[in-house]
């Protein structure tokens, strides 16, 4: 078996690829559902209903999609420039910490006189800056010394989690939390408003949509966007054409880290109200999956994050109804990513059997 490059991409393959990817995902997951002893059609039906079938389901899905959208954008921006930022998880946590540090740690310090709008802006800025600075080190190490950023950003995640753990048991500990490791709460005025009453979906969704639009415009219409795409596609050719490669990589790192940092602030301000050690069930890593599902298109990230969130939320509710483990959600997301990647490959290559 071998792969041969297609000289022309057939239009039929371009249509068949996504259809085939979905069919394959359904098939693989369906086999596992059968193994778990449930009816396949009913399971899929319940999953769909639980993720998208009612206002409540949809609101839960969108709530879950907000941090995924932001970490998805963080991965998209970085991957476009071939900066493999695996550290969005850590950047999300430092963003959340910075948000609480600005928006919750100043009781009685005279900070209370500052107008809420200014404090809100400062909180968001601090979160973005914290995320950006966390990625700056790995980016400079890569640009200057060629240190592999996959390793540095990945390992920073664990360092950050330990830092969070230390702070939640120390300076940022909430004294009223009866010994639970959680930070002091954000000021109530700084919390994001709810978009739909009686649900959890908050105006962080608008931040996500707005930033997706902004990243899309940046990529398409600006000189920096060209620089990012050129450096990612062919750094040597970019340098020859006069693109400042090192500066571009550093700027991309700041942008990507800032987006992930904002994800942390928005989670705190929109959903949790304070930082805990388990506030992110791997949103930073899921952002990579979402970016790949979206083929690194900023607007595709919106759809991909809603899809992934819907599967996760739907699986929860399906599992409560018929007892198929929620891990099926991870299988569906993983299988869909793999089949989308293979399908994309097959639009460019054909398989020859000997």
């Amino acid at each position: 078996m071998r792969l041969e490059k297609r000289h022309q991409q057939s239009s039929l393959a371009l249509v068949l690829a996504p259809v085939g990817a979905i069919a394959f995902t359904m098939l693989v997951s369906g086999l596992l559902v059968m193994w778990a002893g449930a009816a396949v059609a009913r399971t899929y039906g319940l999953l769909l209903q639980g993720g998208f079938g009612s206002v409540f389901a949809l609101s839960e899905t969108l709530t879950r999609a907000i941090p995924l959208m932001l970490t998805g954008l963080a991965a998209t921006v970085a991957f476009k420039a071939r900066l493999f930022n695996i550290g969005a998880e850590g950047q999300l946590y430092v963003g959340a910490l910075a948000a609480v540090a600005v928006g919750g740690m100043h009781a009685g310090s005279g900070f209370d006189q500052v107008p809420v709008a200014v404090l809100f802006a400062a909180m968001m800025l601090a979160a973005a800056l914290a995320g950006a600075l966390l990625l700056l080190g790995p980016a400079l190490l890569k640009a200057r010394l060629g240190v592999d950023e996959v390793v540095t950003t990945l390992l920073l995640n664990f360092i950050v989690l330990l830092l969070v753990s230390m702070l939640l048991d120390g300076p940022m500990k909430d004294p009223t939390a009866m010994g639970w490791p959680q930070s002091v709460a954000l000021m109530g005025e700084l919390e994001l408003s709810k978009l739909i009453p009686q649900t959890r979906v908050h105006s962080g969704l608008l931040w996500g949509l707005g930033l997706a639009l902004a990243v899309w415009a940046l990529m398409k219409y600006t000189v920096l966007g060209f620089d990012i795409r050129a450096v990612g596609a062919n750094a040597r050719a970019a340098a020859f054409a006069g693109v400042p490669v090192t500066r571009t990589v550093v700027l991309v790192a700041m942008l990507s880290g800032a987006l992930a940092g904002l994800a942390g602030a928005i989670e705190v301000a929109g959903r949790t109200g304070y930082v805990t050690l388990d506030m992110s069930p791997g949103y930073g890593y899921s952002g990579i999956v979402i970016a790949m599902l979206a083929a690194l298109h900023p607007l595709g990230v919106v759809l991909a994050s809603i899809f992934v969130a819907g599967v996760l939320v739907g699986a929860d509710s399906m599992s409560r109804a018929i007892g198929v483990p929620t891990y099926i959600a991870d299988v569906i997301v993983a299988a869909s990513l793999l089949s989308v990647l293979v399908a994309t490959l097959l639009t460019q290559y054909r398989v020859r059997w000997k």
Partner: protein, 521 residues
């Protein structure tokens, strides 16, 4: 020579890639003791045919018979054991091993406790003596010259018992003298009954070494002729499909003031470097740099393209120190044509129009602060595509969809067509740095690129042409310098050089001691 026994027979070989027919029912014969040249432009199907023969591809139709036996398709091992040996253009040797180790590698059974080095050494010596290929078996391949490495590749094939040798563009990396030595070895092999398939696109050497020439065009075998019965013009016409005029040597009209000057320039020690190089480029002349690739051409081209800096010495441009950044160079009238158009010239994944303006994107013509002026950029790209006749893909298609020739036209247009040029007045570049501008192009595109360079020279540009192709150097260069191991010889008028003198200088015989002396303008 007795040309009777057929050793290799290809019958009706067809290979399709999607809708592209790379080989269309090709039938060929190779006789014992014969050199068959496979001639054709890039994309004519030479490589595909040879890949099928060697088992890398499986043909959609057709048979191969070697020494009367059918060759199983898609099996390189079968091809090897049937006596087919291949010398690739890019060598497949391990630099850190000795010649002997490289030759033995892969030819011993896996489950054998000790290598039989003594026996192998004896066999290698015998093969080397038989064909007059002298190489020290204990030498590390990394320390050998390119010509010697090629000999190791040939020895490797002969050691494995090859009776049919396929040589893919073997002279592309050799000096004229090394090429002569190779031809002598080939003659000896043929005299001893071996057969050779010689792949090339150089007409002169094809006529010189082969008995018979097969011409491929667009996947079809369009002509076969005995070398003694045909001419260069006839071959060129077969290759291209119509008669073609190659640019003739045209002397410089008026050589003007110095545009660019290198004084004792060295670059950081690396595999490719410059050592105390001095050179003056005048307005209205083409200075051609000859040399075997890998002797510092990349350093010289990158230095004048703004992607490498000098560690000592001075580079002056229009009387001032040369700007360091590519975008400044371009803004000040330097047109750059890089050696590797796919890896450096364009960003293949980005659209043609973005590639067409990438060098000048930062100029006010195409951006306003943060924002790209897309309308202006796309309009200029369209102008380039029209003026330089870039075909095969629209402005919105990714640049990698362009063929080599069209990609080169795009790069030429980007470098030569100034956005300030109007139908009334043209803005021409002051300096053109062209590194291997015609490498791998078909004859028509070669002529086009060379004409553009001559026209730019006649319009007053100083042109630096760095080329491995000696014919190109001697046709276009008003003055010629030779580069060897980072040392640049003085640039002398082209008429003052003989081919032999250039060949000697390319091998390092005379270049280094004379470097740095006054030039003959």
């Amino acid at each position: 020579m007795c040309v009777t026994e057929t050793v290799l027979q290809l019958t009706g070989i067809t290979k399709r890639f999607g809708s592209l027919v790379a080989n269309d029912t090709i039938s060929l014969q190779l006789a014992r003791g014969e050199v068959l040249a496979l001639l054709g432009e890039n994309g004519a199907g030479k490589s595909t045919l040879v890949s099928i023969l060697f088992g890398h591809y499986v043909a959609d139709a057709g048979q191969i018979t070697v020494f009367g036996q059918a060759l199983p398709p898609g099996d390189p091992k079968a091809a090897l054991s049937a006596g087919i040996g291949m010398v690739h253009q890019h060598f497949t040797l391990a630099d850190n091993l000795t010649v002997l180790d490289n030759v033995m590698m892969g030819s011993e059974p896996l489950w054998q406790a000790f290598t039989r080095r003594q026996a192998a050494r004896g066999k290698l010596d015998a093969v080397a003596r038989q064909f007059g290929l002298s190489v020290d078996p204990q030498a590390r391949v990394g320390s050998l010259s390119v010509g010697e490495r090629q000999r190791v590749e040939i020895l490797k094939a002969l050691y494995r018992g090859a009776r049919i040798l396929i040589l893919d563009e073997p002279t592309a990396v050799l000096t004229p003298q090394e090429s002569e030595a190779l031809f002598a070895v080939l003659a000896q092999m043929v005299a001893q009954g071996l057969s050779i398939i010689f792949i090339s696109h150089k007409l002169t050497e094809v006529l010189r070494v082969s008995n018979r020439i097969a011409v491929l065009r667009g996947g079809k075998l369009v002509a076969q002729a005995a070398a003694s019965d045909t001419t260069q013009a006839q071959l060129a016409q077969w290759m291209v499909g119509h008669a073609i005029d190659l640019p003739q040597r045209r002397p410089a009209l008026r050589v003007g003031a110095p545009v660019c000057e290198l004084r004792q320039v060295s670059t950081a020690p690396a595999r490719e470097r410059l050592v105390d190089a001095s050179l003056t480029l005048h307005s209205g002349e083409i200075v051609a740099i000859a040399g075997v690739s890998g002797n510092g051409q990349v350093a010289l081209a990158e230095l004048l393209s703004g992607t490498r800096s000098a560690t000592s010495g001075e580079v002056h441009y229009l009387g001032r120190p040369m700007p360091a950044r590519p975008s400044e160079l371009v803004a000040q009238g330097v047109a750059r044509i890089p050696e590797d158009r796919h890896a450096v010239g364009v960003v293949g994944d980005l659209p043609v129009w973005e590639n067409a303006v990438s060098e000048r994107l930062r100029s006010p013509a195409f951006s306003q602060g943060f924002w790209v002026r897309r309308k202006a950029a796309q309009a200029h790209a369209d102008r380039i595509l029209r003026a330089f006749d870039v075909r095969g893909a629209g402005a919105a298609a990714p640049a990698r969809a362009l063929s080599g020739g069209n990609m080169q036209k795009l790069i030429l247009g980007r470098a030569l067509l100034h956005p300030g040029t109007t139908p009334q007045s043209t803005v021409t570049p002051r300096l053109i740095v062209a590194h291997q501008p015609t490498w791998g192009l078909d004859i028509g595109a070669v002529a086009y690129v060379q004409e553009q360079l001559i026209a730019a020279r006649d319009a007053g540009a100083a042109v630096l042409l760095i080329s491995d192709d000696l014919d190109e150097v001697l046709t276009l260069g008003d003055r010629v310098a030779v580069i060897h191991a980072g040392h640049l010889s003085p640039a002398r008028p082209a008429a003052a050089w003989s081919r032999e003198a250039i060949g000697l200088a390319m091998a390092g015989a005379a270049a280094s001691p004379m470097a740095g002396q006054a030039e003959t303008a």
